[in-house]
């Protein structure tokens, strides 16, 4: 069954085989950094498209958890690719994260030795990423991440500060043996922009310094944040800040709990006691010595730190990416099935019945054209007279029939000879109206049945969207159909008939021998020129019972069958050769096709609003888990010396 062009979207074949990008080598590739970069870039692009697709069709994906996609993108674009390109030589960056008022900024200031970032008692002082370290190093880091910019902290006074930016305060210098530090906004503040900004910090972090207190170490927001962060970074420094002696139990509980939650991550724990009465906003340097020592170690062993961090990220975040991608691909497949199912239903209930209307195969107009063309040509004066008598006899017959009590049966509408073309069209229009009405009801019932039966979120959402649509009422559809049909038959069918008539005339003119043969061969019947034309038209085209003229034709068919044996051979051959003429077949097909197109346009009125809902999800297939595994192998191959 060929879908009509432009009326139904083509059914896409199920594409589950993973596609390879044009530039990627076949699997597995030659290895080396080139392949690593190429594959990572390609996968990152796929993830970007996937995220955009999910955002673009929220109705289809709203109930899925697709954070794995964002984590994966962060890993690829912001961790793997920049580090691999720079051969792990970028400066080490540590990011300070934590909840409101845990003392992050105070810690950072104390490490620097002077107050460089604002800290205070009211919440969420830090609203952007603050970069601490030498300007060259910060520049290096920010340049490796093209989406970010390095700006001086004085810019923070402007009301509309950029989010993808690192702000460096004036004197925020650290000694060279310490890594670059990023101070981030609170992860649990009531301001959502603060919460988002910290994720950007993770994009640049090689390790995480998690600052928490006895009040906050088991908060849901903190744990959720760490669940994401620990998929990206391997190394974590836990700072138990503002500690009091009586919090010892809490510290032990935190050590145990964090160890159970993230066993894959390397960590170090620091306890910083609460200091009251500090006047300059800085903690005594001695308190931070262990932390400083550890930071120095991180800076010294930076290649190993980075290499291991990304390997860890590929395993954890890569795994979550794979799962999210699988969920998306599965949903895409399910949606494809929904679309196919609805389209099938439309086919069965709407398009197919309209294609099968009986009138398409009953080209009375072409019949009349044949009679118009052939009749005069094979006429003789005697036949002229006889056909006149024949016509009058037919009229008299129908008049008599109508006058008799039972005439109504044979005539239908007593007295008038019904026009077969009109009858055929009325019957088809009636049927088409019924089809449209049934299809319109059926469409909603089908969707409701599926939504209630399967309960699948896609069907439920689709049923809701369908209910919200303003489908045309059956009455308006019927009215539009009548007007459209009248106008279209005039516009589209008439040329077909005229073309056929001219071709037939040309055929008769080109084959005068055929005409003379018919005239000669039909001596006995040439008088009944009308009957002869009728017989020829019967033989070349099918006929349906109708008016008295055609009644005779209808009666003539069995007569013809009966007399076939008695007719001269030539006449039979003639009519057969005429029937096999290609242009007659073509004319019939054209007629059928044109008429079908007229009805199918009407079907489109019902299909269009629904078809708009049935847009497929356009996502290139990809075996993400396999790609991630390959990236892991490549990473081990290229940077195996530091792992």
């Amino acid at each position: 069954m060929k879908p009509q062009p432009g009326l139904l979207p083509a059914f896409a074949a199920e594409e589950d085989a993973p596609e390879r990008g044009a530039e990627l080598p076949s699997f597995p590739g030659p290895g080396g950094r080139e392949e690593l970069l190429g594959r990572a870039d390609d996968l990152a692009r796929w993830v970007e498209v996937a995220i955009a697709t999910a955002k673009g069709a929220p109705a289809r994906f709203a109930d899925l958890d697709l954070t794995g996609l964002e984590l994966g993108l962060l890993l690829l674009r912001d961790r793997l690719l920049p580090e691999a390109r720079a051969d792990l030589e970028l400066p080490v960056v540590g990011v300070f994260c934590g909840g409101t008022n845990v003392g992050k900024s105070t810690l950072v200031n104390s490490l620097v030795g002077e107050v460089v970032t604002e800290s205070g008692s009211t919440a969420s002082k830090t609203k952007r990423l603050i970069g601490i370290g030498s300007p060259e190093r910060l520049r290096q880091v920010v340049q490796a991440h093209p989406a970010f910019a390095l700006l001086p902290a004085s810019e923070l006074k402007n009301p509309d500060t950029r989010r993808h930016a690192v702000y460096r305060p004036e004197h925020a210098d650290l000694p060279g043996d310490l890594p670059v530090l990023l101070d981030t906004p609170d992860i649990d503040s009531s301001d959502t922009r603060c919460r988002d900004a910290t994720r950007y910090g993770l994009a640049m972090a090689d390790f995480v310094v998690w600052v928490t207190t006895q009040q906050k170490y088991k908060d849901e927001s903190g744990i959720k944040f760490l669940n994401e962060a620990m998929a990206l970074a391997r190394c974590r420094f836990d700072v138990f800040n503002q500690a009091l002696p009586r919090h010892a139990e809490a510290l032990e509980d935190m050590m145990r709990d964090y160890g159970e939650r993230w066993p894959e991550n390397e960590r170090a724990i620091f306890r910083i006691a609460e200091r009251t009465g500090i006047t300059d906003g800085l903690l005594p340097p001695a308190d931070l010595d262990p932390l400083r020592e550890k930071l120095r170690e991180a800076q010294a062993d930076r290649r190993r730190l980075k290499g291991q961090a990304i390997r860890h990220g590929l395993a954890q975040a890569g795994n979550r990416l794979g799962q999210a991608a699988k969920a998306m691909v599965r949903r895409q497949r399910e949606w494809r099935r929904v679309i196919a199912s609805m389209n099938q239903r439309f086919e069965a209930s709407l398009f197919d019945p309209l294609r099968r209307l009986p009138g398409h195969e009953a080209p009375f107009e072409l019949q009349a054209a044949i009679m118009r063309v052939l009749g005069p040509r094979i006429q003789t004066p005697v036949s002229d007279l006889v056909s006149q008598i024949n016509r009058s006899a037919g009229e008299a017959l129908s008049w008599t029939l109508s006058k008799l009590p039972f005439g109504g049966w044979l005539g239908g509408a007593g007295g008038e000879t019904p026009d077969p073309v009109d009858r055929r069209d009325q019957a088809d229009l009636r049927q088409a109206r019924q089809v449209l009405e049934d299809a319109r009801f059926d469409l909603l019932e089908f969707a409701r049945g599926k939504a209630e039966g399967s309960g699948h979120p896609l069907w439920v959402k689709f049923h809701q969207e369908l209910k919200a649509l303003d489908l045309p009422t059956p009455e308006s559809l019927g009215g539009r159909l009548d007007a459209h049909f009248r106008e279209s038959s005039q516009r589209m069918l008439l040329p077909v008939i005229v073309k056929f008539e001219s071709e037939l005339e040309r055929f008769c003119d080109d084959n005068p021998s055929l005409i003379t043969a018919m005239k000669a061969v039909v001596p006995g019947f040439s008088a009944l020129a009308g009957l002869a034309a009728a017989i020829l038209s019967i033989h070349t085209l099918t006929i349906l019972p109708g008016a008295s003229e055609y009644i005779l034709g209808g009666l003539a068919l069995p007569v013809f069958e009966h007399l076939k044996g008695l007719l001269p051979e030539n006449l039979l051959k003639l009519s057969e050769s005429l029937a096999n003429e290609p242009f007659i077949q073509k004319a019939r097909e054209d007629f059928g096709k044109t008429r079908r197109a007229i009805f199918l346009t009407a079907a489109d009125w019902l299909y269009q609003p629904v078809g708009r809902l049935l847009t497929p999800i356009d996502l290139r297939g990809k075996d993400v888990a396999l790609e991630v595994t390959r990236l892991q192998d490549l990473w081990k191959e290229v940077f195996g010396d530091v792992l």
Binding site: T100, Q215, K467
Partner: protein
């Protein structure tokens, strides 16, 4: 509890299934609302019972609330019933706050001894703990029924000043254990007043503001800033920040306009009371004074009554939303006029089909009517009429012969009529059902309950066929020719015949040959007279089929009305009888 019933699922809606050790949940929702009748409360004062009746009615009529939400509805109605039954001279005061803000310590400090175990470890309190006066023990148990387990702390005291308060300690609302938040929500549902405990580290939590904004509803709030003895010191800036962040949430203070805020150190207050050396307690004394003296009998009574009224309103709005009462009413309002218009359409279509059907049958019926009229007619005219009818009848027999039946022509005609009209009727009926189903679906109601009332079985009962048959027979056999009429009609033909006979006799007597032309002329005259008389008389007797046709159309019309419109009318009347409930505050209309 959500003040917007449509978002009720955002609130304490997802109550977990009771674990094996839990006490039995509230009694399951009984199907018949009679079980909800309150013998001790006069009718109209128990909103819960009225709402239960309403829910049962709604479910019977249009299938909402759907089975998925029944548990939620019954839970909330149970809560309301519990609340309405309790005496309102006592407040349930609940602790609200994140982990480690000091809720348990505060309860201990207010009680003066260790009620619950406080620990440095996070998310330590896992179950609610109750501190209540002896005389109110039963009330506390009733109001917290379904939440408290056997092993939950339940401490009874004798302090008069705290008689009007039931202190309930709760688990945290921002820790990683989701169960804690569930338990907290369950307790909050039954609370009258919440002590929102915060610290400098935790006052800016988005979870706190979400809960304060969406789930407090009518409950009063008092802010307690705890742990001022450690960490970042409390300052005026912090107070202003907190009040600014809380201002848009629309919280209700227990009395007056301003939300009370107390800065305390619960730990030091507890040490003070237990005799251990402590530090400054901040405004703890003021907080105690507030709870003991400010919340006096009159205020407590007022708060309690206002809360009950607000809970009634909330529950009523929720039930109206879940039952889709407004939508059902709108649907019913549109339905009846539409059904009438459909009926009119159907009648018109039937009329057309009837005309078409009768066009073939009319001549036959008319002829039979004429035959019946000619029944009692005698004389030469009668003979003529019967003869001409016989000729026609032969053609009629021809028709009869084709239809293959015997004498029961009326039955046959009625059957044929039914056969022609049945498809029209069926189609209209089918369209009616489908449109009703679609409209109900669009209004998100269950249309099958209304459709079930429409008579199933689309074939018309045999009585209709019999009635049609009777109509036709009535029409056919209606005309009667009285004797006088017959005499009048036979007058002229008889006269002519007599004249002819006289002429014949006279010519016989006069031995003339009777002129053939005379007889021919006389015969022709006779035939002419009879024909003219017959055509006029038969036409008059024939009459018009119109009234009979109208009667048959009316017959069908009544049948359709009985099947399509009457059930709809009944259903619409039932819908209009549903709610508003007696004793409610305001009829639920349009608010979602």
């Amino acid at each position: 509890m959500s003040s917007d019933p449509a978002l009720a699922t955002a609130g304490p809606a997802q109550v977990m299934a009771p674990a094996p050790g839990d006490p039995p949940a509230l009694p399951p929702f009984p199907e018949d609302a009679e079980a909800f009748s309150e013998p001790d409360l006069p009718p109209g004062l128990s909103l819960a019972a009225d709402l239960a009746r309403l829910v049962v009615q709604c479910r019977r009529l249009w299938g909402r609330p759907s089975p998925g939400r029944e548990a939620e509805v019954s839970r909330r109605l149970g809560l309301l019933r519990q609340r309405e039954k309790s005496i309102s001279d006592c407040l349930i005061v609940v602790m609200l706050g994140g982990t480690k803000v000091g809720k348990t310590t505060l309860v201990n400090a207010l009680a003066g001894r260790e009620i619950g175990e406080a620990s440095a470890r996070a998310c330590y309190t896992r179950r609610p703990a109750v501190f209540v006066h002896r005389r109110r023990e039963g009330l506390a148990r009733t109001r917290l029924a379904g939440i408290l387990r056997e092993d939950d702390t339940f401490v009874v005291h004798d302090e008069e000043a705290l008689e009007r308060i039931i202190l309930v300690d709760t688990p945290d609302l921002d820790g990683i254990e989701a169960v804690h938040r569930e338990v907290f929500r369950q307790v909050l549902e039954r609370a009258d007043l919440a002590l929102s405990v915060v610290t400098t580290q935790k006052y800016d939590s988005h979870i706190l503001y979400e809960i304060l904004g969406r789930e407090m509803g009518f409950r009063r709030v008092v802010f307690v800033f705890n742990r001022i003895d450690e960490g970042i010191p409390f300052s005026e800036k912090v107070r202003q920040d907190l009040l600014a962040k809380v201002a848009p949430l629309g919280l209700k203070p227990p009395a007056g306009e301003e939300l009370p805020l107390f800065t305390i150190s619960a730990r030091n207050a507890l040490s003070g009371k237990t005799g251990a050396p402590g530090g400054p307690t901040g405004q703890f004394a003021a907080l105690e004074a507030f709870l003991r003296e400010r919340l006096d009998q009159a205020l407590v009574k007022r708060i309690s009554e206002e809360n009950v009224a607000a809970m009634r309103r909330e529950t009523e709005a929720f039930v109206a939303g879940v039952c889709r009462l407004a939508e059902a009413r709108a649907f019913a309002a549109d339905l009846l006029p539409w059904a009438e218009s459909q009926l009119a359409d159907c009648r018109a279509a039937l009329g057309q089909a009837m005309d078409k059907a009768f066009r073939g049958l009319t001549p036959e019926i008319l002829r039979r009517r004429e035959a019946a009229a000619a029944e009692g007619l005698g004389g030469p005219f009668g003979l003529y009429v019967r003869l001409s009818l016989a000729v026609d009848a032969m053609a009629g027999r021809f028709q009869l012969f084709l239809s293959g039946s015997g004498t029961d022509l009326e039955g046959v005609m009625a059957q044929r009529l039914l056969l022609e009209l049945q498809p029209v009727l069926e189609e209209h009926f089918r369209r009616f059902r489908r449109t009703v189903a679609e409209r109900a679906d669009r209004a998100d109601l269950d249309g099958s309950l209304l459709l079930g009332r429409l008579t199933d079985g689309e074939t018309l009962p045999a009585s209709v066929r019999v009635s049609i048959q009777d109509q036709i027979s009535e029409f056919v056999l209606e005309p009667k020719t009285s004797g006088g009429e017959g005499l009048l009609l036979n007058l002229l033909p008889l006269a002519i015949i007599l004249l002819l006979v006289r002429y014949f006799v006279v010519s016989l007597l006069a031995a003339h040959e009777p002129g053939a032309g005379m007889f021919l002329g006389g015969g022709i005259l006779l035939w002419l007279v009879c024909h003219l008389q017959a055509s006029f008389w038969l036409k008059r007797k024939g009459g018009s089929l119109e009234p009979a046709v109208r009667k048959i159309v009316d017959l069908f019309g009544d049948e359709i009305r009985r099947r399509m419109v009457e059930p709809v009318r009944d259903w619409t009347a039932d819908v209009s009888r549903v709610g508003p409930v007696a004793g409610s505050v305001a009829p639920p209309g349009g608010d979602k």
